[in-house]
């Protein structure tokens, strides 16, 4: 009972979500843990709650900077001020003061790049680390769709920190990836908690559209039919923008686009408008959703095909966090897989680019490349992601290496990544085209079996779409903006304010 009380005091929740309590108990018994919990089931609580019951500091390694900022912000908003994010955003001057106060923090979020720094590790070593958290742990595995070379070194770093008690968290990892995680982190003895990736309240629909030209019409049809709020995912910023305008012009006035091309202020505002219920539909790229806690998303539509089942699950997982029935719809028309193939290629450097790099810069690649980074990137025509990968590789080079061998090794590595990505797309495509139950099929991909019948399971098993139909067509009354009222409403006690 005691744990429930702590949950109430620190987080304000009455009870644990499925899986959380077992994990926390294992941690409190001093065990290492590998936990796979689907998105939206409260992964971070699994280490945040025990943190309050353990002496010392919790170090959280997480690869996505935006996600790190979000997490830290949400903790601050909750009232936990003893939290800090150490990553490349941290200004030089700030860095000094953060390291000076390191012992005053309870939670230290850190990027893998920063952990590669010996000074940083030595500073962390002065602290008592109660728990070492590896978030998005699937990034460790070369078999994972989101492999990050930096993550490979986490095992050594963990050792350098005195092998503290560790929890590795991930939303999606098959058996192969899971054993990679344990091996790389050098965990001796651990307990594994694998919850089902199944979210029965999210219904899975694949809508086959024979003619690509009808796809937009079909999308508009769905959006005006379905109960919101909802998210529509696109692979292109431009299309996300265009569809948002189209929706606003055709009866869904509270629709906005969200993508990485917007300025920061707009991104925050649109995110918050959606969370507070001022928007019904977000037309987004995959930049949207990470770290967003909105309980009542009722539909997720994919206009383009995701690059792998893992991303698909992650994105539809943003629906129905309140446990209520929700629907996910993937629109597919013939040859849609061409776009993912192109995008996947763009994420990797080509063999031609790699050969060019070695031919032109030769020995300079060993140490001087950082000064020429912009030039190399521009002339070489590297995309953001392909350059990040190349950079990671260049960083790993040292003087004693034979560049000729390294060149071939890198080309082979990239070639393997390419094959892996293509394989992921094929799997995604197979799932789309399969005539089997969609839920059963995706579960078997993660080595699970279905647990029984789900009502309105998927488009193969059959769905009563009316269950997801918009309930009341709320007429949004147009009232002209009155700045005096609005300003007064903001700065005086609510009651007369918005909604």
């Amino acid at each position: 009972m005691m744990l429930e009380q702590k949950l109430k005091t620190h987080f304000g929740y009455e009870q644990f979500k499925i899986g959380q309590k077992e994990i926390i108990e294992a941690l409190l018994q001093g065990k290492n843990v590998l936990a796979m919990l689907p998105t939206g089931t409260g992964k971070s609580l699994c280490y945040q709650l025990p943190a309050y019951l353990m002496e010392g500091v919790v170090v959280v390694v997480t690869p996505l900077l935006s996600l790190m900022q979000d997490q830290v912000e949400q903790m601050m908003a909750r009232g936990e001020k003893r939290v800090v994010a150490i990553n490349s955003f941290l200004e030089r001057e700030e860095r000094g003061s953060v390291f000076g106060r390191l012992h005053t923090y309870k939670f230290i979020y850190i990027s893998p790049e920063m952990l590669m720094n010996e000074f940083v590790v030595s500073q962390l070593n002065k602290l008592v680390i109660s728990l070492f958290v590896v978030d998005e742990a699937h990034c460790i595995s070369q078999w994972g769709y989101d492999f990050r070379p930096d993550y490979l070194k986490l095992g050594d770093i963990r050792e350098a920190l005195g092998s503290p008690q560790t929890i590795a968290l991930t939303a999606t990892a098959d058996q192969e990836v899971r054993s990679d995680i344990v091996r790389t982190l050098k965990l001796e003895g651990w307990e594994e908690f694998v919850s089902s990736v199944d979210r029965p309240n999210i219904k899975m629909v694949v809508d086959y559209i024979h003619d690509t030209r009808e796809k937009l019409d079909k999308l508009l049809e769905w959006v005006s039919f379905l109960q919101g709020p909802g998210i529509i995912y696109f692979s292109s910023k431009k299309l996300a923008e265009e569809v948002a305008v189209m929706l606003r012009d055709s009866g869904v006035p509270r629709s906005m686009a969200y993508h990485g091309g917007l300025d920061q202020e707009s991104r925050i505002l649109i995110q918050q408008q959606f969370i507070k219920g001022q928007l019904d539909v977000i037309c987004a790229t995959s930049a949207f959703g990470m770290g967003i806690n909105k309980e009542n998303v009722r539909f997720v539509i994919h206009f383009h095909m995701p690059l792998q089942l893992e991303s698909y699950l992650q994105e539809i997982g943003r629906a129905g966090r309140d446990g209520e029935n929700s629907i996910s719809i993937l629109l597919y028309s013939p040859y849609d897989e061409q776009l993912p193939y192109q995008l996947a290629e763009g994420e990797l450097p080509t063999e031609f680019q790699i050969r060019w790099l070695f031919q032109h810069f030769g020995d300079q690649l060993l140490c001087e490349w950082e000064e020429m980074e912009e030039t190399i990137r521009q002339i070489g025509g590297f995309t953001d992601t392909s350059w990040r990968l190349t950079k990671d590789f260049l960083r790993s080079l040292s003087n004693s290496m034979d560049l000729k061998i390294e060149e071939e090794r890198f080309i082979e590595y990239v070639d393997n990544r390419k094959k892996l990505k293509r394989k992921k797309i094929v799997e995604m495509l197979n799932w789309i085209q399969s005539k089997e139950c969609k839920r059963k099929k995706v579960l078997s991909y993660f080595g699970e079996v279905t647990h029984g019948n789900v009502d309105d399971c998927c488009s193969v098993c059959g769905i009563v779409y009316d269950h997801y139909k918009i309930k009341c067509t709320e007429v949004v009354e147009y009232t002209p903006f009155q700045w005096r009222d609005y300003l007064r409403g903001l700065l005086t006690k609510s009651g007369t304010s918005y909604e």
Partner: protein
């Protein structure tokens, strides 16, 4: 149809006359922090437009230029000079009556108005949540500077921060009711966020108010500049807002010029600073010109003796044009000395 931005470009080109290339107007509107651009803006009384179209790209600017030529508001003369046509002159004359809010622009002085906006919008959100006893929310401004400033404001006002929401409302109401504003206050107010209501983005506001995009951006800035000026002129009437608007003179300097300024304050000379910072002397001179422009009361006697300052001033007034070359035909001194005197006394000349 010619939009406001195109009209402003035409206006600036007419002011610069034949003395500068067309791209100097681009740098001016774009807010390029080079001493040449900054100095020009004061010299030709165009400092109000400095940095007011910082979104403008080179390509967009070139399109505006060709459009102005195509519509015959100006043409390129045989000696490659821009000449404003009669219809162009007419358009220029009408500009301020068509867009009266432009007279509130003070881009040179308040080009850091976005910092003011960030502080103001965050302060409103914090106050709105305070009034409603809400302590957990996501701040709409992420910049560490802005967040630290707010923290500082509250930690130095223990006790009376309770009154902030009320005080803020009173001060803003008073400011926004002014007839000199010349724009609908919604341009600003619709973008405020608070408890339970998140403000609109720039594009959403533009759409809601049905204003042309360029016009909106000028209106928004004109409004901010008006607020900053009014608060600065009358701080006792707006005590809370006055704490936010303090224009930090040093803030306006480029980072490099700031370092040079530190060394000048320690009594170092140009040559020595150049050596310490491993920079060319001419670069240090550029910094000094920049400092003279922005730092009130910066004494230039060390670099130009006082009697010489007077003689340069006279020469500037006598010269047929504001080109440095023309001025130097009258008085034989360094370009640096002329530039420095103009920077220091520009608005009086």
């Amino acid at each position: 149809m010619i939009n406001i931005l195109e009209q402003v470009v035409l206006y600036c080109l007419s002011k610069l006359g034949k003395e500068r290339s067309s791209s100097s107007v681009f740098h001016l509107l774009n807010g390029k922090k080079s001493s040449q651009t900054i100095q020009d803006s004061y010299l030709f009384q165009l400092d109000c437009f400095f940095h007011t179209a910082h979104h403008l790209t080179r390509d967009q600017y070139e399109i505006i230029i060709s459009k102005l030529i195509k519509h015959e508001f100006m043409y390129i003369s045989s000696d490659q000079q821009i000449v404003i046509s009669e219809s162009g002159q007419l358009l220029i004359k009408k500009m301020y009556s068509m867009y009266p809010f432009l007279k509130n622009l003070q881009g040179g002085k308040y080009h850091n108005c976005m910092q003011f906006w960030e502080r103001l919008s965050l302060l409103i959100q914090v106050c709105s949540n305070q009034v409603n006893k809400q302590t957990s929310y996501i701040p709409v401004q992420k910049s560490k500077d802005t967040q630290n400033w707010i923290k500082h404001l509250f930690s130095t006002s223990v006790g009376n921060s309770k009154d902030f929401p009320h005080q803020l409302l009173q001060e803003l109401q008073a400011l926004l009711e002014s007839s000199e504003l010349e724009v609908d206050p919604s341009v600003l107010v619709a973008r405020f966020s608070g408890f339970q209501s998140i403000g609109l983005t720039e594009m959403q506001t533009i759409e809601m108010l049905g204003i042309e995009e360029n016009s909106y951006r000028f209106q928004f800035q004109a409004l901010l500049h008006y607020l900053m000026r009014t608060i600065e002129e009358n701080p006792t009437a707006y005590p809370l807002l006055a704490r936010m608007a303090v224009t930090d003179e040093l803030h306006q300097l480029t980072a490099s010029a700031k370092k040079t300024f530190e060394l000048i304050k320690k009594g170092k000379g140009i040559v020595e600073i150049g050596r310490i910072r491993k920079l060319k002397e001419s670069t240090i001179q550029d910094h000094i010109v920049e400092i003279a422009l922005f730092v009130n009361g910066f004494n230039i006697d060390r670099f130009v003796e006082e009697p010489l300052q007077e003689r340069i001033k006279e020469a500037v007034q006598k010269a047929s044009s504001k080109q440095l070359r023309k001025i130097r035909e009258i008085i034989d001194v360094d370009y640096f000395q002329i530039r420095l005197v103009i920077a220091k006394f520009g608005d009086l000349l």
